[in-house]
Structures are given as structure tokens and as C-alpha cells.
């Protein structure tokens, strides 16, 4: 009997052990290791020659112009992607909200880019945005507008990357918002109609507050996701031209072999930013968002 009850007490630990081992080995330990590395001038060839340099890597980060360039690029990218995606997908979702066959097909269609590898997406858009032969400039010329250099000019490169990301992400967020809209009980709208509320007022005063938890979720996921943008940049621009699309993760990636300590320190900074964002969001969440 006692043996059995001891087993009953141990069982949950045995069941979570593999999962916890995975997280310890590949998340918790790497975080600690990353922080440890960030205090060193690390020598990849000869570990013994690695030197503890305290916070030097961090002071270096915050005095280097290329870091600030990468940081500001990432912030501009994140803010633009989040705002544009949020606005456009909300618009489309309200438009496609009604349950009908056509709407389901359109939703499935605009979702397609989301399940395709970013590599493919990037290659296709590279071709579409090709300055001389690309389809987009053909359209612009046909419409009598001046063609753009798209990814090849430092003025428009970041914007081009933003367009591709928004285009890829919208479908997913439309789906989530539509699902949220459709889960609202119709009787609420019927009550509002009986109260003689205008369409805009119904949307602003009833619909928006009810779906705010989902919108909030989208905001968190999108912000954190955008902050770690890498694949599009790596395939489409390689950070260029002239660092115009260099982002934080790309920056970290760039130093991963040449200066591991510095790269790790930048990783710590990225982690801190993501942590801060998450924290701020959840503080706001507990205050503002309407929950049923």
C-alpha cells in the first residue's frame, strides 16, 4: 500500500520529467550560458584563451552606431508590421465576417502565404520586386507611375521587407479575428438594434471591446514575432543595402563566429527587450482588456 501511494506521488514528476529535461537543456541552460558568454571575450579556437571582460561587451554594444541602426530598423519594422497588419486584418475580418461559402474560400486563400516557407515567400517577392524585370515595376509603369528600386535601394528596402511580412501575416490574423467575431452571441447585436444603436457605435462600443482579448493576443504574438525577424532579411537583402535592413537577430547572426561574446551580449539585450515587452503587455492586459 505504501509503495503504491509513493508511486502515486512520484508519477506526475516522472511524467513531466522528459519535457522538463528538454526545457532545462535547451532553454534554461542556454539562457544562463548566454549570459555567461556575454561577459567574455570568447576565443572559439582556444577556449582557454577566453578572457573575462565584465560588462565590456555591453558598453561596446551601446556605443556602436551599427547596433543602434539595427535596433532602430527592428523597431521601425515591428511598429509598421504590427500597426499595418492589425489595421488591415481587422478591416478584412469585419468585411468577411458573415458566414458564407465565398467568404470561407477568400479567407482560406489569403491564409495561404502563412503556411508557405519564408524562404519561398522571399524568393517569389525578390523576383516580383526585381527593379528591371520584376512584375511590380511593370505594374507601376503601366499605371504611369515611376518604378521603384524596391530592395536594392537603402531608401525603400526596409519598406519592401515590411510589405512582404504584412502580406504574409494578414491571413492568419484575419482568421483569428473572424473566429472571435463569430463567437459573439447574435443576441447582443439584437439587443443593440433594439436600443437603436448605429452601426459604427455597435462596432466601437460592443464588438471591439468583446474581441479585445483576441486583439491583445495578436498584438503580443506579432510584436514578439516581429522583433525576431531574420529569415526575410537573410534571403532578400542580407541586411543591406548599406545596413538599411539590418535587424537585431541578423546583427547577432553576423557576429556569431567572429565575436561570440559580443554576439551573446546582444542576444541578452534582445532577450531583455522581449521580456520587457511581454511584461508591459501583461501589465496592460490586467488593467485594460475586457474579459467576459
Amino acid at each position: 500500500m505504501d509503495k503504491q501511494s509513493r508511486w502515486a506521488q512520484l508519477r506526475p514528476y516522472m511524467m513531466i520529467a522528459p519535457a522538463m529535461a528538454g526545457i532545462l537543456a535547451f532553454v534554461i541552460y542556454p539562457i544562463l550560458y548566454l549570459i555567461y558568454l556575454s561577459f567574455f571575450k570568447y576565443n572559439l579556437m582556444n577556449k582557454d584563451k577566453s578572457k573575462f571582460i565584465g560588462l565590456d561587451n555591453f558598453t561596446q554594444i551601446f556605443t556602436r552606431a551599427d547596433f543602434y541602426k539595427a535596433l532602430s530598423n527592428t523597431m521601425i519594422y515591428t511598429a509598421s508590421v504590427v500597426l499595418l497588419t492589425m489595421f488591415i486584418s481587422l478591416l478584412i475580418a469585419v468585411w468577411l465576417n458573415k458566414k458564407s461559402k465565398i467568404n470561407v474560400i477568400v479567407q482560406a486563400g489569403i491564409f495561404t502565404p502563412h503556411i508557405i516557407s519564408i524562404v519561398s515567400i522571399s524568393l517569389v517577392w525578390l523576383w516580383l520586386m526585381e527593379p528591371n524585370l520584376g512584375f511590380l515595376n511593370y505594374v507601376l509603369k503601366t499605371l504611369g507611375l515611376p518604378p521603384s528600386q524596391w530592395l536594392q535601394s537603402s531608401k525603400t528596402a526596409l519598406l519592401s521587407v515590411i510589405i512582404v511580412s504584412v502580406w504574409q501575416g494578414i491571413g492568419y490574423y484575419v482568421l483569428i479575428i473572424v473566429a472571435a467575431l463569430q463567437s459573439i452571441s447574435p443576441s447582443i447585436y439584437e439587443a443593440a438594434a433594439l436600443d437603436n444603436a448605429s452601426k459604427w457605435k455597435v462596432f466601437y462600443k460592443i464588438t471591439l471591446p468583446i474581441i479585445s482579448p483576441q486583439l491583445f493576443f495578436i498584438l503580443v504574438i506579432m510584436t514578439i514575432g516581429s522583433f525576431k525577424v531574420f529569415d526575410t532579411v537573410q534571403v532578400m537583402t542580407g541586411g543591406g543595402p548599406n545596413n538599411a535592413t539590418n535587424t537585431i537577430v541578423y546583427y547577432i547572426y553576423g557576429f556569431r563566429t567572429t565575436n561570440i561574446g559580443y554576439s551573446a551580449a546582444t542576444g541578452v539585450v534582445l532577450m531583455a527587450i522581449i521580456g520587457l515587452l511581454t511584461f508591459v503587455y501583461f501589465r496592460l492586459l490586467s488593467k485594460k482588456v475586457h474579459y467576459q
Binding site: 508519477r11 506526475p12 511524467m15 513531466i16 522528459p18 519535457a19 522538463m20 528538454g22 526545457i23 532545462l24 537543456a25 535547451f26 532553454v27 534554461i28 541552460y29 542556454p30 539562457i31 550560458y33 548566454l34 558568454l37 465565398i102 477568400v106 486563400g109 489569403i110 491564409f111 495561404t112 502565404p113 502563412h114 503556411i115 508557405i116 516557407s117 519564408i118 524562404v119 519561398s120 524568393l123 517569389v124 517577392w125 523576383w127 516580383l128 528591371n132 524585370l133 512584375f135 511593370y138 503601366t142 502580406w167 482568421l175 483569428i176 473566429a179 531574420f230 529569415d231 534571403v235 537577430v249 547577432i252 556569431r256 554576439s263 551573446a264 542576444g267 534582445l270 522581449i274 511581454t278
Partner: protein, 277 residues
């Protein structure tokens, strides 16, 4: 009667607008397919060629002979299936324990899962790479598989699902003298099939498409997946050979597009489900 007509006009305008919007999202893929069948000369023409005069199937052969694509494809399949199988084995018991048992330290341990959920691979890749190097695994497929053994998101989702199952069903099974293992295996897991399918689908899509992690973890062709192989076409084929690059791209995209065409409903449902919970 005016409102009657108005309704029809509105419907027609809506339909046209919806078709136009759909085109914005579908057209790039059609363009990709068209380019992949053109000759080099056709890709250079301006205004562009819409439909190639003679479909150039040999573009695909050329793209596929630019590198060991059979190896790439094999690697992609091995990595993706291994990840899904290992994740299921690790995730199910963990999610079940977090959902249905009480134990000391549960909240702290679950907090660690949530933390793992928040920390992206883009933060941890340097130390993980160094660990893999220390363990002598860099020349194998392991670095692409084992870091994903614990799917924090999956554990979170599945735990939610298990928690929704009424406790009475477990109690009824206990009264039916079923062992704890039997309760999990014969009753709870069959009930959680939709959630398991969601997680598996999610894992499949994200790891099949993954680019960042294999880019970091591989340095030889024998262990690279398809995504990397296709991305490298630009270097091996030259930047202006768009018809070959697009042909390679079609090879990467079409399998997933076909899967999506046949079970778009389930995939859409899975993604919505993961987004709302």
C-alpha cells in the same frame, strides 16, 4: 424596388472586390509557377511573359541537379517526422500530469514551460550550437531535432484541452477499476485527438518550413534540409536565373500547397484553435 436592385449591385461589387483581394494573395504563387516554366529569354522580356510559349519542364531538372536535392528532401522528411514523434511522446504525459494531477512545485514547473514558450530560438541559438559542438553532434541531424523535443506551446495547448475534460470521467474510470495508465491511454488520449492533430499539423508546417535553425546548425550539404537547398539556388545558379530559382521554389511549395488544398479546413481550424486558446 430600388432597394432590391441596390442589394444585387452591392453583392456584385463585393464579389469583384473579394476576387481582387484574393488575387493579391494568390497571384505571386501563380507568377512563380509561370516563371518556372519559361525560358531564360522569356524571363527577360518586357512587358513580362504571362504564359510561356512552350512549358520548359527541363528547368526543374536543372534546378534539381544543382545540388543533392534528394538528400535535402530526405533530411527534411527525417527531421520533421522525428520532431513530431518525439514531441508527442514527451508532450502527452507532461500535459496530462499538469492538467490532472496535483503535486508540489507544479506552478513553478509550469512557469518554466511558459518561459520556454516566450524565449525564441533566435536568443538561444549560440549556446545551443556550442553545446551541440561540445557533444560532437554538429555533423549529424541531431541539432535540428533534439532542441525541439519539448514543445512548450503544445504542452500548453494540450493541457488546456485535458483540463476541459470533466473530472467526473476520470473518477468514473477510477470507479471502473481502471489503472491510471489505462485512463490516460484509453480514455483521455482518444478524447484529445483534435488537439493532438492541431499540434502535429502546427509542428509539421513550422519545421518543414524552418530556415533559421538549420541555417545555424548545418555546415555541410549532407545534413541540410530543402529550405536551405532552395535558398542556395541563388548562389549556385546565379542571381538572374529566375526561371531556375522559381522551378526550385515550386518544388518546395507545391507539396504543402497540395496538402493545403485537400485539408484547408482542418489546417485553418488548427491555426484558429491555436490562436484563440
Amino acid at each position: 424596388m430600388k432597394t432590391f436592385e441596390f442589394k444585387y449591385v452591392r453583392f456584385a461589387v463585393g464579389l469583384v472586390l473579394k476576387a481582387a483581394m484574393l488575387m493579391v494573395f494568390i497571384f505571386p504563387f501563380l507568377w512563380m509557377i509561370s516563371t518556372s516554366l519559361q525560358t531564360f529569354r522569356e524571363t527577360l522580356s518586357f512587358p513580362p511573359t504571362w504564359i510561356p510559349a512552350v512549358p520548359q519542364w527541363r528547368n526543374f531538372i536543372e534546378a534539381m541537379s544543382a545540388g543533392p536535392f534528394l538528400t535535402y528532401a530526405k533530411n527534411s522528411v527525417i527531421v520533421t517526422t522525428s520532431i513530431i514523434v518525439i514531441q508527442m511522446l514527451v508532450m502527452i504525459p507532461a500535459a496530462y500530469a499538469f492538467a490532472k494531477y496535483k503535486f508540489i512545485g507544479k506552478n513553478v514547473l509550469f512557469g518554466m514551460i511558459l518561459l520556454a514558450f516566450m524565449i525564441p530560438g533566435q536568443v538561444t541559438f549560440i549556446p545551443v550550437y556550442m553545446m551541440m559542438a561540445d557533444w560532437g553532434l554538429i555533423k549529424t541531424l541531431m541539432p535540428q531535432i533534439i532542441p525541439f523535443m519539448s514543445n512548450a506551446f503544445g504542452i500548453f495547448l494540450l493541457r488546456q484541452y485535458f483540463m476541459q475534460i470533466p473530472e467526473e470521467i476520470v473518477e468514473a474510470a477510477r470507479l471502473d477499476n481502471a489503472s491510471e495508465f489505462k485512463i490516460m491511454w484509453n480514455i483521455m488520449i482518444p478524447m484529445a485527438k483534435p488537439a493532438l492533430a492541431t499540434v502535429a499539423l502546427f509542428s509539421f508546417v513550422s519545421h518543414w518550413n524552418d530556415y533559421f535553425w538549420p541555417l545555424i546548425m548545418t555546415d555541410s550539404a549532407s545534413i541540410r534540409p530543402l529550405t536551405l537547398g532552395i535558398a542556395m539556388l541563388r548562389e549556385t545558379e546565379g542571381i538572374s536565373n529566375w526561371h531556375i530559382i522559381m522551378a526550385g521554389n515550386v518544388v518546395l511549395v507545391v507539396p504543402i500547397l497540395i496538402v493545403y488544398l485537400f485539408c484547408s479546413k482542418q489546417i485553418v481550424k488548427a491555426f484558429v484553435y491555436s490562436g484563440i486558446k
